[in-house]
């Protein structure tokens, strides 16, 4: 008896062999069996393919939270002019140690900007005004009446728009983020605005973010680094060593516990509001536990309809400054 096929060395038990040509017919039945097997295996693969198609499309539809946010972000960056109002605070175990606001008006087409930043350390406030007008950068601190003028404002951009992140860098970042973008959700309200949110906690936070966050949290506590770093950004008066930020110096078990990002996307598909809350836990050298909370809320308005404020320097005390910003900060120790 010739049995062809895949090593299935088993006689067909109760099968009645017809009288005509048994060998041929056995062949036929084996072939039939194979065909049936192929059919069922093919059906299974087909079923899998259908499942793949339906679930794949749903998964793609579900990444819309991330996509909506990304396009809103691009819209916001690409706006010709806008005004933003930023409120932020940093607290340690619920006590505010540092807080501030910043009102900023930017007009890319006019190459102009104005900003008023206020920083509050709990005992006193400090205001810093910055203007960019007529190709000059003007800084004014609330500590003095002197307007510091830089003749050449730092180069912003080439074509009037903020430099775009290269496509490649964006895709690398997206690949690194990986499945986290599936966690972003979006809800469309009845008025056409969208609420996008991404909440990460515990082990969802990528190790890289955790490492960088821990590093920043541990360095921020050392007042020296903080002062110089902040001075560079013009938020704090440079060279005021008595300006001490009452931040704990974390040494152990530093961990980024939670990152909550919420955004409201307006009808014009640009960001209307963006808030962030980051929680870092850790222990200081004495073993006391700390929870550092950074809260930030930024509102954006006046898209393509914002004119930055101007300052009239006539009759005011001015001082020329070298426009090398770095020399005011990191390198002068």
């Amino acid at each position: 008896m010739v049995i062809r096929g895949p090593g299935r060395v088993r006689s067909e038990g109760g099968r009645q062999l017809p009288s005509r040509d048994p060998g041929f017919l056995i062949h036929e039945t084996m072939e039939d069996m194979m065909r049936k097997k192929w059919l069922s295996a093919g059906a299974v693969v087909g079923l899998g393919a259908v499942m793949l198609l339906t679930s794949g499309y749903s998964v793609m539809a579900n990444t819309s939270g991330y996509e909506a946010y990304k396009s809103a972000f691009t819209h916001t960056k690409g706006a010709d002019s806008m005004a933003s109002h930023i409120v932020w605070s940093l607290s340690d175990n619920g006590t505010k140690v540092l807080s501030g606001t910043a009102d900023m008006k930017v007009n890319h087409a006019k190459q102009a900007m104005s900003m008023t930043a206020v920083v509050d350390d709990g005992t006193r406030t400090h205001t810093m005004q910055t203007y960019r007008q007529d190709g000059k950068m003007i800084l004014k601190s609330s500590d003095s009446e002197v307007y510091r003028v830089m003749d050449q404002a730092p180069e912003w951009q080439h074509d009037g728009k903020t430099a775009q992140m290269p496509q490649a860098a964006e895709q690398v970042m997206e690949a690194l983020v990986g499945n986290i973008k599936d966690l972003a959700t979006v809800e469309t309200g009845s008025d056409g605005t969208k609420e996008a949110e991404l909440h990460l906690s515990g082990s969802q936070i990528p190790a890289v973010v955790n490492a960088v966050g821990s590093l920043i949290a541990s360095k921020a506590g050392s007042a020296d680094g903080w002062n110089h770093g902040a001075a560079v950004q013009g938020h704090l008066p440079a060279g005021h060593s008595e300006w001490k930020v009452n931040l704990p110096k974390l040494t152990d078990e530093i961990k980024v516990e939670q990152i909550d990002l919420d955004a409201k996307i307006g009808k014009n598909a640009a960001l209307e509001n963006q808030s962030a809350e980051i929680l870092v836990t850790g222990k200081d050298a004495a073993g006391a536990a700390h929870v550092l909370t950074l809260q930030l809320n930024a509102g954006f308005s006046g898209y393509d309809a914002t004119t930055p404020d101007r300052v009239d320097l006539a009759g005011k005390q001015t001082e020329k400054v070298d426009n090398r910003w770095e020399r005011n900060g990191w390198n002068r120790h």
Binding site: A41, G48, L52, V59, D182, G202, G213, E253
Partner: protein, 247 residues
Amino acid sequence: MHSLYANLLNETEKLWRQRRTKGFLLLALILPVVTVLLSSLLKMRAGMLFGLEGSLPVAMLHLFTFAIIPLYMAAAAAHSFAGEMAARTMKLVLLRPVTRARAYASKVIAIAVFAALCLGVLWIASTVSAWAVGGPAGGMADSLKAYAASFVPMMAIGLVCVFIAQLFSSGTSALMTIVLIYAAAKALPLLLPQLSAWSVFSYTRWDVLWTGSGAPAGTLLNTFLLLLSYIIMAYAAGLMMFARKQL
């Protein structure tokens, strides 16, 4: 069912006898310990912090699901199918009183057993070493969930490896091809981001959807069905080819 169980024992033992399996499991045991030692050494010497203590189990999991477990499964699949074909030992498997479907199933399950074993060893080793340096143990249930969830995408990738291995009659060429395909599939989303939702290889970090506040149920279900469809298709297609194979 006995033939399946008996052959599973055979296949498990065959894999266990290979040096790469022991090395693979040893790596899962040692890597977390070495990482913790290195980071605490750096912390003592240079005051550098990596914030690793708290996230060590999950950081380790992502390292293993990204490269080490797929690589092991590729090697095991290549050896267990194409390799045995080349070494002419496949005949010995099929001469036993076991159907081809069950021989196939037992080989697949044996690979799955070691992938699961690796995840288990890794979880224990990284949790214990994180705990030893005083990392917060609060996220233990969370990381356990992450490890359990990771098994699903690992199976999907493992079965795709098994399927590809059917196309070859030499273990090395099968392994080389799988590794090349894996690398290409990992790089593809960089060129065509819209494809990443479809590729089984972009779900190696699927566990993040399960931990913490978690993803909405719809996303969990859809991504699970997507992985399941890969599992079903790769298993059935691999079986079809294995059953037709001429020795």
